[in-house]
């Protein structure tokens, strides 16, 4: 294998879990260790370094399933969804979706939403902070003019069929595990807002939750009570849609 591009392509396929091609094996000097064993060192480096990097992003998942389970899930994720950028702070956004179809996690169906909560936390923690929107009059005018509202750039909304806010409280030690009955508690909507370098978590219910879900989906709100609109602004959840 004399062509560097071909060699690197074959090497990459091996790292991503394929059996090494004969031509690649022939291109590696054996020395005191056979070529396939040498290639396995790099396969292992790839999986271990990525699972190590991501385990720091999902500590609450680890609290529910343990270090061994999470590391193994992350190793499988690394092979199934390898990063496409060297800046690894962007890597891991697909892990919650991966968990939804990960057979080994079938007995912990809420884990994907816990992971999504953690991913939103991670993403917000590394985001630029936009100016707070607190102009009630401009918000009312925007609705009347049909210009619309959007979720604030420093806010994320998580709609879960599991009690993900309570689960976050359990994982972070704010709620005793015995106080949460996952099967009967029902779903929760969580708003995450970045403010002055810190991510804040709010459990939403009723009209506030419904309204924010519609805003996130880009639906027209129509008439809205002043108090409700101002509550959304006070929570740091919304901003004017950019024209």
């Amino acid at each position: 294998m004399t062509d560097l591009l071909s060699l690197q392509r074959s090497f990459a396929q091996t790292i991503l879990g394929q059996e090494p091609e004969d031509e690649l094996l022939g291109a590696v000097k054996p020395g005191n260790l056979p070529p396939d064993a040498r290639l396995r060192i790099h396969q292992n480096n790839f999986r271990e370094s990525l699972s190590g990097a991501l385990s720091g992003v999902f500590p609450f998942c680890e609290a529910f399933v343990g270090e061994m389970f999470l590391k193994q899930a992350l190793r499988h994720f690394a092979l199934a969804c390898p990063p496409n950028k060297a800046a690894l702070f962007l890597y891991g956004a697909d892990f919650p979706d991966f968990l939804r179809t990960y057979a080994a996690a079938a007995s912990v169906p809420y884990l994907a939403d816990v992971a999504l909560l953690e991913w939103y936390t991670h993403a917000l923690s590394n985001a630029s902070e936009e100016a707070i929107f607190e102009d009630y009059a401009a918000a009312h005018a925007a609705i009347e003019e049909g210009a619309g509202l959007r979720l604030h750039g420093n806010a994320r909304l998580l709609v879960s069929s599991f009690p993900v806010y309570d689960l976050w409280q359990v994982a972070s030690g704010q709620l005793e595990p015995e106080a949460l009955d996952i099967s009967s508690r029902g779903g929760q909507v969580v708003l995450l807002v970045l403010h002055e370098g810190q991510v804040f978590y709010q459990s939403l219910e009723g009209r506030v939750a419904d309204c924010l879900m519609r805003i996130e989906h880009g639906e027209a709100l129509g008439p809205i009570e002043a108090a409700l609109l101002e509550e959304l602004i006070d929570r740091g959840a919304i901003a004017l849609r950019k024209s």
Partner: protein
């Protein structure tokens, strides 16, 4: 080698730094240790905002930075990722680092980032590929870089140049300098069964702009002992001996202690940095005929 003004002002001819870890941010700012510089991995600061930048900005007000890339993939036959290069350039412009470095390795293929420093066949064709990529990087950021020797676990039948010969040829063709990782030389030499001392004796002193020291771990693979460059422990005595011999020959150089896994206390990291400083001080003293060791 020109040292930054604040180091020259302190009279330090033996600049020692450590890799900056998030676990040590507050220690650094509260204790303001007597270190010459901090090194950061560029890719860890490519996010738009957040605490990492706030800390790094605060630390960079007191200390020079060394910006060390791990994802440029200088050995990539596909060429460089332009988006990554733009992000790297933005960091150089934002933090104005004292030193900028990358690796003799590749890590990207077909839009996938392989998160490892992968080996190249060391031959004329690879040299041309790396030369073009180093030139592209230096042109983009507008300054000279240092290229680090990697730790190796395999070699290719298509290699026909010793690694140090390859690096020197690269420096001649691009004007880059060398970041000499003594631990990597040791790890590669043991894994690939080549002569570590001979490698170091062939390093041209004038090309070395920085030295890295780190710990490694020994593992058994298929009944063979392999050394893995995990940056997770103190520098081994073998590597300290090589470092002392190297510095004795080429003179003091900016030296960095890397410790990236199983992160120690900040004090433990400072102890390792202090040992590197002692080695360089002793070399200087010996040169002046004053060291009794």
């Amino acid at each position: 080698m020109t040292f930054p003004a604040h180091i020259a002002a302190k009279g330090s001819k033996c600049p020692v730094g450590v890799g900056l870890k998030t676990q040590h941010y507050d220690d650094v700012l509260s204790s303001k240790p007597a270190l010459a510089f901090f090194e950061v991995h560029a890719e860890n600061y490519m996010m738009p905002g957040g605490a990492h930048h706030r800390y790094l900005e605060a630390i960079s007000e007191t200390y020079p930075l060394s910006l060390h890339g791990v994802g440029m993939s200088l050995g990539s036959a596909e060429g460089l990722d332009k988006a990554h290069l733009r992000q790297f350039k933005a960091l150089v412009e934002r933090y104005r680092p004292w030193l900028v470095s990358e690796h003799l390795a590749w890590s990207r293929m077909g839009g996938t980032y392989l998160n490892d420093l992968l080996p190249l066949p060391l031959n004329q064709h690879s040299l041309e590929v790396v030369r073009d990529n180093v030139n592209a990087m230096q042109d983009a950021i507008g300054r000279r870089i240092l290229v680090e020797n990697p730790s190796s676990y395999l070699a290719f039948t298509g290699s026909d140049m010793p690694e140090i010969e390859f690096l020197v040829a690269l420096a001649e063709r691009t004007g880059c300098g060398l970041l000499l990782d003594v631990n990597n030389v040791f790890v590669s030499g043991k894994n690939m069964e080549w002569n570590v001392s001979a490698y170091l004796e062939n390093v041209p002193a004038a090309l070395v702009g920085e030295i890295h020291l780190a710990g490694h771990v020994t593992k058994e693979v298929d009944g063979q002992t392999i050394r893995i460059d995990d940056h997770g422990s103190r520098v081994s005595e073998d590597v300290w001996d090589l470092y002392e011999s190297l510095v004795g020959r080429i003179g003091p150089r900016p030296t960095l202690i890397e410790w990236d896994s199983d992160i120690p206390t900040f004090d433990e990291l400072l102890e390792e940095a202090g040992r590197a400083r002692e080695v360089m001080n002793c070399v200087l003293a010996q040169a002046e005929g004053a060291c009794s060791d």
